[in-house]
Subunit: 503 residues, 2 copies
């Protein structure tokens, strides 16, 4: 059978599309730049949502929902936001169509809105306009609210999950009585994202601060998590913004503080989106298709009974059902988000074993159990791990009575191994560089994360971007205090920052 | 303290707004007809989503996500849908704003879309346009897909939850190889809705078929669940449509059937929305505020420690924490959707006990536990049930050691009692009427559900609606075979149908 996945080394972009398509994750719709998230892709998003939502709630946040449509004038109230999002807004101008014989449906010119509405590209404006009524006193603070929603940004060049005109996300919007509390919140939520990316997605990330040129419109500063994809480009995987009093001032949100005087509230916002699914695909998948870490896999285990005769099949299917029942009956465990394990039994005997194995590899199921007539004879089964294709990842002769315990261990091992493998890849492709010549050579020929000194000016950042297409991904946290000289201008630098080409 | 809720009998509409406002469920936004769903209201929606989603998955459905924006031409392809939704569409005509000095942001005339997009009012068109590529053979069927999403219908007269321009909902869209299978699906999903409404929301419903005049645009027929609110009006709480081959023909979705010939696929769609929260409020709440059935309550139990001195408070808080820990540690139970019980300890000693009790009554928490110094002395607590305010619903002297078991029993009892109470109210306000004079008198003076004979014509239905404002809620299932004569025209009728004024 021809391999349906283009090898990574042959054409990385096509490989990505083949994996997304082969696993049934998403496809382009007929609406420009908007994707259809197919059931297997959406099931991954549901797993992510559950885990993140739980973490948001454990840190004291509650969910709410604000309107999709935002009056144009709201956007105008915060200057950076108007500047940052005006160029990519879907604009609602009318509220009715009408039927005209011979012409079909046309926009009814009599149903023109007095003020245009934009489809939310992000919700700071409508939310802070609402907070004005909710915040009177320090007793009303902090407000710790999150929203799960769709947003629209009119992107010209789109790519499934990574950059789409409409995407799904969560956006946290918090209000605080003090600057310090808001800054702590922004940092805390970045840490939630780091934990989720590393512990659930098995995707190692660098945490740090965006440069001025890369920060969110309306933010005082932006914190981010940055991951490395298998083509050694960076993916910005989540951001957490300290917004200062910018939105409180724009929307006149004042409160009486403990001293009895009026002050503007302090704000943060933070978000991750369906883009994470693209990051997940590009972090772990291989030339056989999708590879999923068990904690975000919609199906953790597929059991494939084998056999040629009806009698053989009856026996292997019965053993498969018995194993599935044992796995289902296991106590719910924090590792799987307190959800029952999802087990699939593949009884599609019309297709060859090889074809069936291949299908589940394409779809990224972490562990495959094979039960054939020979296994039945010895009361054993074969366990195959998705992350190590072929014989090397197979273990035969596992006693059926001990299979469920082995499977749980294997799932945990696989989760840890995927993280380790991705970490090694990232570290292998990270370099300290000390001259601009070396920088250009490395970016051109190898890619990866380049740790280099920079003088801190937007001018130098822009020059580097123009000349190499590499951008500053972040000024990383927790770096040793190592002052140096900017590789381009020779001016003083406080420490190395991370450069990379990026999605 | 003045009661913050207008009594039902004084002003029902104001009572509803007071309950929604007092409980912190939702408020109007500055965007016409769009509401903000506040944290307590959204938490109810989350409970509903969890339970419904579980039921959808148990009946074989999976979730997916389709674009928010739909090309205008898609709507035109199905005539009834164009007719039904064109008058209430939000229309996106441009994809960019631009900044003009002195005028702020304006719609960029150079960014006009070649074809306008509408914000989905419902997704049959975009989904069936997608299904065309997904369905080739009977082996691809059935497709059993659900979507959780927001939709926009430009309503002129809106009311929180019950009728809003934007609302949240789920929409199931299934494709089948045979008519019978699709009809079974439509009926099955109505049964899921009935079960959810009655077993989770404790809201009794009548199931049946809509008349031709009331069916969904594009449907062959529409099934519905209808509930009675406390002002004796009907609320359509959920619908399930058999769409025949209408959308398959409009979008050319053909498949090869088992006989090897091409056929159009058969369709259903079905949905419930945040409107259900309005129904929940109007079914159970009273003049003290919100009343919630335990299975959809975001907080099931509030524990209120009492005491005047620090020493007393320390003791009652410690007992409260101990009881909460015991309740938390109970095994997860199907009755609560396998989620841990949500317990709140109210330590706001600055406010009087009466004020604190009142607050939690306003918010609809089903069971309140009071622990005061006298209770500590006797190792007991007081349990108060929300559905029976005042002394009658209080039970003192409950041993603390047995409190958690009592609370679980009480929550189950309360769930059952709310359903029984609402059923009695509905039955008390349902009448068989046999003449149009009696019908008009009853509708005018008493309201409720009137079971009457009707000749089956749209003409008579419209006359009744024009003269009395009552509409046919449904032709109910499972009625005794009782032919009769139409109360208006005297023409033959196959059985009684249910009339009511409705939301």
């Amino acid at each position: 059978m021809a391999n349906r996945v283009t090898p990574r080394l042959q054409d990385y972009s096509q490989w990505y599309l083949d994996v997304v398509n082969g696993a049934g994750l998403a496809e382009n719709s007929e609406v420009r730049g908007c994707m259809v998230i197919k059931p297997h892709g959406y099931a991954i998003w549901e797993k992510m949502q559950r885990a993140l939502d739980q973490m948001f709630k454990e840190t004291g946040h509650v969910n709410a929902y604000f309107p999709l449509l935002i009056p144009k004038s709201f956007l105008e109230k915060e200057e950076d936001m108007a500047e940052g999002f005006a160029k990519e807004c879907a604009v609602v101008t009318h509220y009715r169509l009408k039927s005209v014989p011979g012409r079909g449906l046309i926009v009814d010119p009599e149903a023109k809105l007095a003020e245009e509405l934009i489809v939310r590209p992000t919700s700071e404006t409508i939310i802070w306009n609402t907070y004005r009524d909710w915040i009177q006193s320090y007793r009303d603070l902090p407000l710790l609210i999150n929203q799960w929603a769709n947003v629209v940004r009119w992107e010209m060049r789109t790519r499934l999950f990574l950059r789409t005109a409409e995407f799904l996300w969560q956006e946290g919007h918090t209000a605080h009585a003090t600057q310090m509390e808001a800054e702590d919140e922004a940092r805390q939520m970045l840490e939630v994202y780091r934990t989720f990316a590393e512990d659930w997605m098995a995707m190692p990330v660098i945490t740090g601060t965006k440069s001025e040129g890369q920060k969110f419109p309306g933010a005082v500063y932006t914190l981010c998590i940055e991951a490395m994809m298998q083509d050694r480009r960076a993916l910005q995987a989540g951001t957490s913004h300290f917004l200062g009093q910018n939105f409180a001032k724009a929307f006149d949100v004042k409160f009486q503080n403990q001293e009895g005087t009026l002050d503007y509230a302090w704000a943060t916002s933070w978000g991750v989106s369906t883009r994470l699914i693209g990051g997940l695909v590009m972090t772990h998948s291989d030339d056989q298709g999708l590879v999923l870490p068990p904690r975000v896999a919609p199906i953790q285990v597929v059991i494939v009974p084998l056999g040629r005769t009806d009698e053989e099949r009856k026996a292997t299917v019965a053993e498969s059902q018995s194993l599935a029942a044992t796995l289902h009956a296991l106590p719910r465990h924090e590792f799987f988000g307190y959800e029952p394990l999802k087990i699939k039994i593949d009884t599609d005997f019309d297709k060859s074993p090889g074809f069936r194995f291949n299908e589940w590899e394409l779809r990224g199921v972490p562990v495959r159990v094979e039960i054939g007539p020979k296994d039945i004879a010895t009361n054993t089964c074969v366990l195959a791990r998705r992350d190590i294709p072929g014989k090397e990842g197979k273990r035969a002769g596992v006693p059926l009575a001990a299979a469920s315990a082995h499977i749980i261990e294997l799932l945990k091992q696989l989760q840890a191994d995927l993280f380790d493998k991705a970490s090694r890849f990232r570290d292998t492709n990270s370099y300290e560089v000390n001259s601009y010549a070396e920088f250009r050579e490395k970016i051109e020929n190898q890619g990866g994360f380049l740790w280099a000194h920079w003088d801190g000016t937007q001018e130098t950042e822009e020059r580097i971007a123009a000349e190499t297409k590499a951008t500053i991904r972040c000024v990383p946290f927790n770096q040793p205090n190592e002052p140096g000289k900017c590789m381009v201008t020779g001016k003083p630098s406080k420490g190395r920052v991370v450069f990379s080409k990026a999605y």
